[in-house]
C-alpha cells in the first residue's frame, strides 16, 4: 500500500493577523490577508458605533485597552478559532481611541474552503472577545456626559 507523505496530508498552519489600531479600519488590507485561492468562503463581522442606546444619543465611543494583554488574548482566540472552525486565515482588528457614530470599532474577517466554519467562527469569537478581552469603551453622549461601560 502506498504511504501518503505526511506533508501532503497535513493542513497548512492558519494565517493569523491581529492588530490594535488608533485610526479608521480599512478593509482592503484585511481582505488581501484572508484571500487564498483554496478558500471558497470569506465571512466578515464589523462592530460599529450606534447612535441610540435606549433614549440616549451617542456622539462617539472611545476605547482603551491593556494593549499587550489584549494582543495576547486576541492572538490566542484567533488560534483557537482557526483550529476549531478549520479556518485558512483570520484577521482581527480592534480600533482604540475615539470611534465616531457609523465607524467600525472591530472588524473580523476569516476564510476557509467552505462556508460553515467562517460563519460559525464570527459569533464564537465576538462572544469571547466581549467576555474576556481587556478593552473598555466609554460612551460620549450628546448631552456632554461620559460613562465607562462595565457590563456586570
Amino acid at each position: 500500500m502506498t504511504q501518503i507523505p505526511a506533508e501532503t496530508t497535513a493542513r497548512p498552519a492558519p494565517r493569523i493577523r491581529v492588530e490594535l489600531v488608533d485610526h479608521e479600519i480599512s478593509l482592503q488590507p484585511l481582505r488581501d490577508f484572508i484571500v487564498d485561492a483554496d478558500t471558497g468562503a470569506h465571512a466578515w463581522f464589523e462592530g460599529v458605533t450606534r447612535r441610540m442606546t435606549g433614549s440616549l444619543q451617542t456622539i462617539l465611543l472611545s476605547y482603551e485597552a491593556f494593549v499587550p494583554m489584549a494582543t495576547r488574548q486576541l492572538n490566542a482566540l484567533a488560534e483557537e478559532a482557526a483550529a476549531r472552525f478549520s479556518l485558512t486565515a483570520i484577521a482581527i482588528t480592534h480600533r482604540l481611541g475615539e470611534v465616531p457614530v457609523g465607524e467600525a470599532s472591530i472588524v473580523i474577517g476569516c476564510s476557509a474552503a467552505h462556508r460553515v466554519g467562517p460563519l460559525a467562527a464570527l459569533p464564537w469569537l465576538m462572544d469571547r472577545i466581549k467576555a474576556d478581552v481587556v478593552v473598555w469603551k466609554r460612551e460620549h453622549f450628546a448631552d456632554g456626559q461620559t460613562q465607562w461601560i462595565h457590563p456586570r
Partner: protein, 81 residues
C-alpha cells in the same frame, strides 16, 4: 509584600492614577490583593467586587498565590468589540 497594580478605565478614573501600590500581608493571594486595595483605596471599593486580577497578563482566581516580581493588573468588566 509590596504590590504595584495597573489600573484601567473606571478604576483608573476613580483612583486618578494609572497604577496604585498596596502592602499585602501573607499569604499573598489575588483575593488578598483585592482586599488590600479595598482597605487602602475605599473609593475603589464599589467597583472591586466585579473586577478580576490579571497576573502577568493572565486572569487568576481569588485563591491564586501571587509570587514576588509579577505584573498585576486590576481588570474591570470589559466592554470591547
Amino acid at each position: 509584600m509590596h504590590c504595584r497594580v495597573l489600573l484601567f478605565a473606571a478604576a483608573r478614573d476613580l483612583a486618578q492614577s494609572d497604577a496604585l501600590a498596596v502592602d499585602v500581608p501573607p499569604p499573598v493571594t489575588a483575593g488578598a490583593v483585592l482586599d488590600a486595595i479595598a482597605r487602602r483605596y475605599p473609593h475603589l471599593a464599589p467597583l472591586l467586587p466585579v473586577c478580576r486580577l490579571a497576573v502577568d497578563q493572565s486572569f487568576v482566581t481569588a485563591d491564586a498565590a501571587i509570587p514576588p516580581g509579577v505584573e498585576l493588573a486590576l481588570i474591570p468588566p470589559v466592554s470591547g468589540g
